[in-house]
């Protein structure tokens, strides 16, 4: 019964519908159970996925692929969604919106699960739509500003920008896919790969893969398709920014692996230099722009652009070590980024501010919050012993092994640049005088989440082998397909 491999998707789909329905039917007070219900659905889905970890077979004539790569990413997306749902606990104040909010997150996650498995372009496109449309709604539907009761125009602006650019990039992607279909006569990625073995000389083909790269680059936040990132992250509810910065970015990477690498691996010599240059530009732009930010969400947005650049290094290397480096980097980055965003949520819930200068003296007002944020920022900066260090070491070692020395040097220079702006926040928190001594309360559930996230950052940094071994198996099985 190979169809059982789709049980996790079914669970998420049914949970999402149930949440949507109950969101209308339930009494106002009972709606707090909806987040619980969503979380339970996700836990079950993860459990089934883990049972599938050794599965490797196609479904419906290669339309869906169940293999370690898909299982890896599905678990990744589900776990991230779980965290987002938990930290969204107190976000939604409008009772009419509660059901929709959690259902939208679940639908978007379902879309991500589908694209993790996609082996065919139409499925991929539909899955991508399922990822994006709920996100457009989630970004735009920002709650009113608590302190003033005003409409959140920043959220609306962020949403509009995200929708317009998102639609545009999807259109471009579709255009690229159409050309690809026209040239190869098939929609199945595997067959496209077999039909495209020779050198890429046909101008239409070059155009098509540039368009496809553009479409996926938008999700990753790759330069020059990154412009939506800072505004959207700043304007969106922080929970959704976290979701975008971790899950949606990883979705871009799974698309890149599944479709771009999957279809075009035969002609890698032609596009690897392009990916290399884009990775370098992405790192530099993200890090240099982050230097001058005063809003922590914007800073994290630019830093997430830069981290997309680091993770692209592994794609440019395209060896077993490179791919597993990218996957491991996504894990390391994901933990740290979630931890940082969680801390930002706690802070802004209590103070209503996202300005870095308001973090002054945080160690006095909330020692644990300051510590957790410090750990996550240092991990993002790649300081040992945190996960980010192991991630950077591993992926850069793969670049050295692949003899991509230019990329290696640029990436390391960027690591040094980034330290400055991460340290700036740490300095504010630990050395500046607070404007008020008022204690910042950390709700118990956030305390637990922060503990889990920061411990994950530390433990993965101390003993990365557990995850590196998994990502290596995934990468090996993925590359064995070529």
């Amino acid at each position: 019964m190979r169809m059982t491999a789709l049980i996790p998707e079914a669970i998420i789909f049914i949970t999402a519908l149930l949440v949507l329905l109950l969101g209308v039917l339930l009494e106002e007070k009972q709606k707090t159970y909806l987040s619980f219900l969503s979380a339970v659905g996700i836990v079950f889905a993860v459990a089934v996925e883990i049972l599938l970890k050794n599965a490797s077979f196609p479904l419906y004539n290669d339309i869906l692929l169940i293999d370690p790569l898909s299982v890896f990413f599905k678990v990744f997306f589900l776990v991230v969604a779980l965290f987002i749902i938990v930290i969204s606990y107190e976000l939604v104040e409008d009772p009419d919106y509660v059901g929709e909010y959690f259902a939208l997150i679940l639908f978007s996650t379902l879309g991500m699960m589908i694209i993790s498995s996609c082996g065919e372009l139409i499925t991929m496109y539909v899955g991508l739509g399922l990822v994006s449309l709920p996100l457009y709604a989630l970004v735009t539907r920002s709650p009113v500003i608590k302190s003033t009761g005003d409409e959140n125009y920043k959220g609306k602006e962020a949403g509009t920008k995200y929708i317009i650019l998102g639609m545009l990039s999807t259109a471009v992607l579709l255009y690229g896919l159409t050309i690809l279909y026209g040239l190869t006569g098939t929609l199945v990625v595997k067959e496209i790969y077999h039909n495209l073995t020779g050198p890429i000389t046909h101008p239409a083909l070059i155009l098509s893969f540039a368009f496809v790269l553009m479409g996926f680059g938008f999700k990753i936040g790759m330069v020059p398709f990154h412009t939506w990132v800072p505004d959207t992250y700043e304007g969106a509810p922080t929970q959704i920014s976290a979701f975008l910065s971790v899950a949606s970015k990883a979705a871009g990477f799974v698309l890149l692996l599944r479709v771009f690498v999957g279809a075009l691996a035969g002609s890698r010599v032609y596009w690897i230099p392009l990916v290399e240059i884009l990775a370098i530009l992405t790192m530099f732009l993200g890090n240099l722009a982050a230097l001058s930010q005063n809003n922590i969400k914007r800073l994290l947005a630019y830093s997430s652009i830069a981290h997309g650049g680091y993770a692209l290094v592994g794609i440019a290397v395209l060896s077993e070590m490179g791919i597993s480096g990218t996957l491991f980097y996504l894990i390391a980055y994901g933990c740290a980024s979630l931890c940082a965003f969680t801390a930002v949520i706690v802070f802004s819930n209590a103070t209503g501010s996202d300005e870095i200068k308001d973090y002054a003296g945080l160690y006095k007002r909330a020692p644990f919050l300051a510590l957790a944020l410090t750990i996550s920022l240092l991990s993002l900066a790649g300081i040992p012993v945190f996960a980010g260090f192991a991630g950077k070491f591993y992926i850069f070692a793969s670049a050295a092994y692949g003899q991509l020395y230019t990329l290696l040097v640029c990436a390391l220079i960027n690591g040094a640049i980034s330290l400055y702006y991460y340290l700036r926040i740490v300095k504010e928190m630990y050395t500046s005088k607070p404007s008020t001594e008022e204690i910042i309360p950390i709700p118990p559930i956030f305390k637990v989440v922060l503990w889990i996230e920061s411990m994950a950052v530390v433990l993965i940094g101390i003993y990365p082998w557990i995850f590196i071994r998994i990502t290596q198996d995934v990468a090996r099985s993925f590359l064995a397909g070529f």
Binding site: I383, P384, Y394, F396, A400, L419, Y430, P464, W465, Q472
Partner: protein, 490 residues
Amino acid sequence: MAFPILSVIILAPLAGVLAIAVIPKQRLLAIRSTAAAATFVSLVGSVLICVLYNRVAGGMQFVEKLPWIKSIGISYSLGVDGISCPMVLLTGIVIFTGVLVSWSINERVKQFFINLLLLSVGAFGVFCSRNLFFFFLFYEIAVLPMFLLISVWGSGDKYYGAYKLTLQKIGGSVLVFIGILVLYAVSGQNTFDIAALSRADYLISVQKILFLVLCFGFGVLALLWPLHTWAPIGHAAAPTAASMFLAGVSMKMGAYGILRVAIGILPEGAKAMMPYIAVLAIINIVYGAIVAMAQTDFKYIVGYSSVSHMGLVILGLATLNWVGISGAVFQMFSHGVMTAALFALVGLVYGQTHTRDIRELGGLATKLPIITGVFVLAGLTSLGLPGTSGFVAEFLVFMGAFKAYKVITVLAIIGSALTAVYVLRVVRRVFFGPISKKWENLDDATAFEMIPLLILAGAQIFFGIHPGALISLINLGAKAVAVKAGGGLL
């Protein structure tokens, strides 16, 4: 499996950090004594390995090995040889005395000791690692603690000092990181094990480039001119214990990196490039001494004297022969305890006078006889007076250097003679001459403050009179390197 003494040395301060973290912050005495106890364990451990090291067998001893990331040859592997032993001992001495000197810190005591202990974890780790991954991990671990130590507990232009020091060190680390990864890639061994990497064959062109990359990368910490600029500013801004650690241990981590990684793995590259590095070392020696003569801030003087003395270390390493390298390592140890003593004394004086301007001080000897005595001793070690450890070190370095570079050595000797000028100038200005009214009620070091001073002074005298205790260790390690680098025995 034998008792993992090296892990204990490395992890004792970490255990101290965890213990301090759970002590309530009002219980100052408990926090301070925990820090002292943790570092004391490391100190005892480091004395033990120096005593117990089997001088007949040589090589790597007290080895420990655990696989870590198997697919790319990373293992948690520790071990010490004749070069690392003295360095571990130095770290033990400096960090323990650093904790004692910081007893009077009253501001955010808990965080202070947590940061200070974290520094030592990194240093012990660097000197004990046999795998480049862990070497680099420990090398980098101290970035944030040092940043916080300076920017929270520092003085003067502390933010500038903290940023300059941190960013410059990270700049060096980038070069080291590049060097390590490229070594891994070109060696074709798929391992980060230092011994395995040093057995691999590298093209001579690769050796030359990589050697320079690593040498300049580590050179930032080792104060190689012109990468030294963080040191005086950083020292001036840092609190006493951090200054002691920076000058006493951090700089040695740089020099140790040059010796163990750059020279140890790339001897051919070292042979080709060391004459140029020797020229930079000369600039270090002479430039550091001349600038030190013109300073009026106490800490700047000691900071620039470090620039000059680290030049001696680099010169010793540049000789690539047995005697020169032995001298360099001995100088690393000697300068470590000497400069730690100087910073501790400057801290004691500054704590009472609240000025470090030597023009304002004067005649303190009448009021502070013990501090004066230890300062004069450290000053004499600094200028290499026979009977102190500084003499042995300088003698060996110059002996080795004269064999390798005649002209340069003559210049170096002249340069290091300048040490006498600025050391004696400080001694005269600060401690002798007429005493100003406002210093009438200064107090000398208390009995408790004398403990660290006596340890540091004792080390300088003991190893000056009985250098064999360390030389017998250092020789073993230095010989292996010198033979490999083809520098000969003398």
